[in-house]
């Protein structure tokens, strides 16, 4: 197996570059250029589309506005389901941008033939296949839910740590570390693995065989974006959930 990979690879059918980065030097800091290039592409796409969709808002939505309204309704529903009817509105932009950014990143990695553009080092891929991006998003999510908890309850937020029983305290503290960790690694692992699988299959059998895997990759990518956004919203919702009236859980569902 090893040898086959080597042989195929040396035959220059295709290349896989994992862990190679295009380094940019900013002061004495190093950043991954290829991640920023693709993320700028994604950001530009999102901004242009949303700008085009809201440039001329009609009461009866048509075309792009209709599509983006559908997306917005989807995001609002997601946030509403996880955070609750009363509190979800200020969090729609954050959760929605998480979803849109990750979704478009994942799909651009799978659909846009970035690899045709040659870089001096490394290769263009989905921004979410770089651990820095996913960790950044996960940490932002952590900050977001801390902020949500503190702005809603002040120091009373720490009461969450001893709910429903004080016995849960250590687990809740560990959770604060595992949440961003699992969020970032889940996304990173899925997207990178998907790209690798497709890459390896393309190396081995260049034509047609990778297509089902690519389709599966699209599906996984969408699911991962959904999962990330849903979990972020769920964490935020959990942080601002009112434990004082534990019996009112039903109204949030």
């Amino acid at each position: 197996m090893l040898n086959i990979l080597h042989v195929v690879n040396f035959a220059h059918l295709a290349e896989l570059e994992v862990g190679k980065h295009l380094y940019w030097q900013i002061g004495n800091l190093k950043v991954h250029g290829q991640v920023f290039l693709t993320s700028w592409f994604v950001i530009a796409l999102l901004v242009i589309v949303s700008f085009a969709a809201t440039r001329n808002i009609n009461r009866i939505p048509r075309g792009l506005q209709n599509f983006m309204e559908y997306a917005l309704e989807f995001i609002r529903d997601l946030a509403k389901n996880q955070i609750g009817e009363k509190e979800y509105r200020p969090w729609v932009p954050f959760v929605g941008t998480l979803f849109l950014f990750i979704f478009v990143s994942n799909w651009s990695g799978a659909l846009v033939p970035f690899r045709l553009i040659q870089l001096p080092e490394g290769e263009l891929a989905a921004p979410t296949s770089d651990i820095n991006t996913t960790v950044a998003l996960a940490l932002l999510t952590s900050l977001a839910y801390f902020y949500a908890g503190f702005s809603k309850k002040g120091l009373g937020y720490f009461g969450n740590y001893v709910q429903p029983v004080p016995f849960m305290l250590p687990f809740k503290i560990i959770e604060d570390f595992t949440k961003p960790l699992s969020l970032s690694f889940r996304l990173f692992g899925n997207i990178l693995a998907d790209e690798l699988v497709v890459g390896v299959l393309v190396l081995l059998v260049p034509l047609f065989v990778p297509l089902p895997v690519m389709a599966l990759g699209l599906f996984t990518s969408a699911i991962q974006a959904l999962i990330f956004a849903t979990l972020a919203a769920a964490y935020i919702g959990e942080a601002i959930e009112d434990h004082g009236h534990g019996e009112e859980h039903g109204e949030h569902s």
Binding site: L16, V18, G19, I57, P93, I131, N132, A136
Partner: protein, 163 residues
Amino acid sequence: MTHSIILLAAETAGKEGGLFDLDATLPLMAIQFLFLVLILNATFYKPLSKAIDERDEYIRKNQLDARERLSKAEQLAAQYEQELATARRQSQQIIADAQAEAEKVAAEKIAAAQREAQAQREQAAQEIEQQKQEALASLEQQVDSLSQQIMEKLLGKQLVGQR
């Protein structure tokens, strides 16, 4: 540039780069993402949310309005129905009144006619009676004169005149 995955996996340790290479990309990406949130909030979430909410409001208002108008129309229909029923009742009442009146008038007229007929009949009967009396009277006279003549003829004028 001809690295295989496996080679790379071995290579990454120690060297710069690798899968888990965390550097300044992370905070910059976070900042960039926050900017994206702000931009999208201004260009996407706010205007479209406003549009959706306004549309909801518009639809809700229109629906309310329509419901109100429907209830008003139903109320009007009920009112007309009621008025119609009243009018129908009134017309029947009028017809009944008119019929009663007509019957009364007819009865009166019939009674008057009968009375008149009665009166005429009585008058006629009286006249007949009177004429009968007259006739009888004249008859008696004639009987008298005839019997006188007969007696004169039979007995002779002198005899009769003597008596």
